[in-house]
């Protein structure tokens, strides 16, 4: 019923508008105008000028009220540089934006036919055109050079710290699997063939590789402040994308094609919370948690490549701890998958079916 009413009102609105439009047109023509829009240029000149003011004001408004809601400052070192690049670019384009918009709408107002009866035949000006070709070209060159320096630093394989930690993250519908190499710092080999890949071993880990024995799966990603980390990324079924918004990290996870991202966290979770506490907006009370926003702040991992119906649900927590020791303490609480799951099941099998077990472990 309400739906029907809403439709009825909308249809009425259209009818009324059409009638107004028609009446306007007729009255203009009766007053002897050749074009039905004649005389409107003046009104539209003012409206366009008004729009310019409204537009600029609304941008100021948005800057004031929306920037505090944005994803906060970068929590990684390379992220500082990409953010800086963002702001440098923003600076240049803001100038262009303001000048061109001011000119566009001001000219619209200033030279509308009611204010300027006679147009000027002015078809080109080579000097001017050269200037506004060369200046953007120079600015763009500067931006490319700056951008490339940052980009190559991020992907500089040779410059990596030998002491970095390594985490393997694999995406699948609709979850992330996080594997740590365990105390030995080495991952067990993965072999992607029908023999190794199975519903209980989707990653195809070769359990005969001793390196695999202390590997563990974690329910969150734990990183250490100031310790570089290499994320080895992959996907099983379809594309996913590994996205750590606070760290300015994003890399697709592609079935059959390993990818990686190397970065260094800069602030622990607690430090970030302390920082946010100083910002008024983050002291607002969250709707569900009933806590100040900064208190429930956490780093998160999200998926940014459409991977199916629950794409929007591929969340995992990320924690940055202060010291190596904190990290080792956490690691002690984690259990080796081999020891807790694989070995017991192998032993069970060995008892039940000795021959099959021999074959499957070679």
């Amino acid at each position: 019923m309400t739906t029907f009413l809403v439709f009825a009102v909308i249809v009425m609105l259209y009818v009324i508008l059409v009638l107004i439009g028609k009446a306007n047109e007729t009255s203009k023509l009766l007053s002897g105008k050749v074009f039905s829009y004649e005389g409107d240029s003046k009104m539209n000149g003012y409206l366009m000028l008004g729009f310019l003011v409204l537009f600029f004001w609304s941008i100021a408004f948005q800057i004031k009220y929306l920037t505090p809601l944005m994803i906060p400052k970068s929590a990684s070192y390379h992220g500082d540089e990409t953010d800086q690049l963002f702001y440098v670019t923003l600076f240049f384009i803001s100038i262009v934006f303001v000048l061109t918009h001011a000119a566009l709408f001001y000219f619209t107002y200033r030279y509308n036919e009611s204010k300027n009866k006679e147009a000027l035949f002015y078809s080109h000006n080579n000097k001017l055109e050269v200037i506004w070709t060369v200046i953007p070209a120079i600015v763009l060159t500067v931006l490319v050079v700056m951008g490339m320096r940052v980009w190559f630093k991020i992907f500089d394989v040779d410059g990596r710290d030998k002491n970095m930690m390594v985490v393997e993250v694999t995406g699948q519908q609709f979850k992330w699997t996080v594997r740590y190499p365990g105390p030995d710092g080495k991952f067990g080999k993965r072999i992607i063939d029908k023999e190794h890949v199975s519903p209980t071993n989707e990653l195809g880990i070769d359990w005969t590789d001793p390196n695999s024995h202390d590997d563990f799966f974690a329910d969150k990603i734990v990183l250490v402040k100031d310790k570089p980390v290499l994320c080895k990324l992959g996907a099983l079924d379809v594309l996913h994308s590994f996205y750590l918004p606070h760290f300015r990290v994003k890399m697709d996870c592609v079935p059959g094609l390993p990818t990686q991202f190397y970065f260094t966290p800069k602030y622990t979770t607690a430090e970030m919370q302390d920082y946010l506490k100083t910002l008024p907006w983050w002291n607002n009370i969250g709707k569900e948690s009933n806590e100040p926003k900064w208190k429930t702040f956490k780093y998160e991992l999200a998926c940014t490549e459409l991977c199916g119906r629950s794409h929007y649900g591929m969340q995992k927590d990320v924690v940055v701890v202060a010291t190596e020791k904190d990290y080792l303490d956490w690691m002690k609480t984690q259990q080796s998958h081999y020891e807790t799951v694989v070995k017991p099941s192998l032993e069970e099998k060995k008892v039940a079916e000795p021959i099959a077990a021999v074959v499957s472990t070679k």
Partner: protein
Amino acid sequence: METIAAHTTVHTEHTTSHDDHDHHHEASWLETYVFCQDHKTIAKQFLITGMFWGVVGGLLSVIFRMQLGWPNETFPILETFFGRWAEGGKISNEFYYSLVTMHGTILVFFVLTGGLSGTFANLLIPYQIGARDMASGFMNMLSYWFFFAASVVMFSSFFIQTGAASGGWTAYPPINGIRDLAVNKGSGLGFDLWILAMALFIVSSLLGGLNYVATVLNLRTKGMTMMRLPLTIWAFMFTAVLGILSFPALLAAVSLLEFDRLLGTSFYLNQIIINGNLLDYKGGSPVLFQHLFWFLGHPEVYIIILPAMGIVSEVLSVHARKPIFGYRAMVVSIMAIVIISFLVWAHHMFVTGLNPNLAAVFVLFTLLIAVPSAIKVFNWIGTIWRGSLRLNPPMLFAIGFVSMFISGGLTGLMLGNSAIDIQLHDTYFVVAHFHIVMGVAAFFGMFAGVYHWFPRMYGRFMNDTLGYIHFYITLIGGYAIFFPMHFMTGLPRRYYAFSNFETFSNFDSLVVFISIAAIIVFLAQILFIVNFFYSIFKGRKVEGEYANPWGGTTLEWTAPVARIHGNWPGEIPSVHRWPYDYSVNGKEYITQDVPLAPGEVEHK
């Protein structure tokens, strides 16, 4: 060529002589309105089909904006219409992804490519170059009917059991590459139909494009040298060139994809593991598809925007009563854009596992393409400077276009710098960028064109008051929808809901605001359609047999208001000057067919 010209002349005389009699041997209804080979009718067919798609595509966005804005509300009407896809009045996540996928596909291809190029290239190329019709009227007709068939197939995919395609308008495998309903429902029959529809669409686009290029190159009237072509024609011709060179890549890409899906080949698939079962695909690469897709995909965005640019250049100049500023620079910019747009495709792929060294090349060319784009903007502003602007609906939309193109184009400079794009890729920032620069801007160009050439198409005017309402709501609303999205940088796009993430939960009230704005803007577009159809029947008539209602200089205004087969009753006018003689030699305008006055020097 001569034979064609001679033939058409004879043909026209034939029809005009008929008009003098009492319409006995008139073409049948079917020939006049359905299987018509006349460029003017085909233009209308494209326009009206495009409008149909525009409403459908817009409606889809209204539905998914309702989900985003009010994720906890229910809308019983949705269940009435969509049944189990919206159980309890709330659309399902699967349906959401179908909606966004189809919204993107429909608007990019069916409205802003088929609808926009199809309408204006068809209407204006013969009229403005002084030709009786397209080089091949038959091919032109086929082009429309392939478009129509593509439309039917695409539309039918909404009604099948497993739903329409839902893996994104970019159709990336593997999600679209495996025909497994457990992986993705929309990757079943829905996606087969998507591919079939796209194949038909591509055929349509190639038939049309070849025809446009052939016509512009061969059928120009006497005196119409290339440098006397209006910018609209340059734009349509290069748009067609872009399409001819890039659409085949998409056709190849989706054909191979269908092979993977149906025949078990592995062009794009490798080591796919589903629920612990390793599938048999081996050695393909999903990234290969992305290369092929964006090899079309990037030129495609210029296929959308170039016609709009051409229209806007023309409309600005006519209603400023002033020549376009820097005609030559405008032509060169179009060429530069066409060439460079083939060298930037991987800027959509910076974080897909592409070799980082390769990225450098693409960053360079991507930022380079901003130079010709900037030149065009400055020249448009130069055009209205010291003009005598008639601020009527077509002009307002043309000015709005320039504003949108600036706002959206500038953020391209951030996205184009790979290091910044790491954070921005696949977030709302990209959504803001391309909806402003392509979506809204191209619509503005299209509206400018429709309001401007409506008298040419129907011999009547559209209503101005309704046009103003349409314009201001769309201008303010367009920015209201997409400008705030810049601040949602970092929020992933294509999310059905943000409630699973603490990080993305800050913008709840903004999302509601955007949804409301989207609904209002949609309603304003319906007003445009009401105005359009109302004006076809009841709009104010253009007075006079050979009226030139806007005082335009180009040849379409030298033809009779009544739209006749062959366009001009007698001889085709020949051309003696460039198309932008406004406010010169003491005259407000001089049409292109007027010979130079004694002592007058041609503008070069």
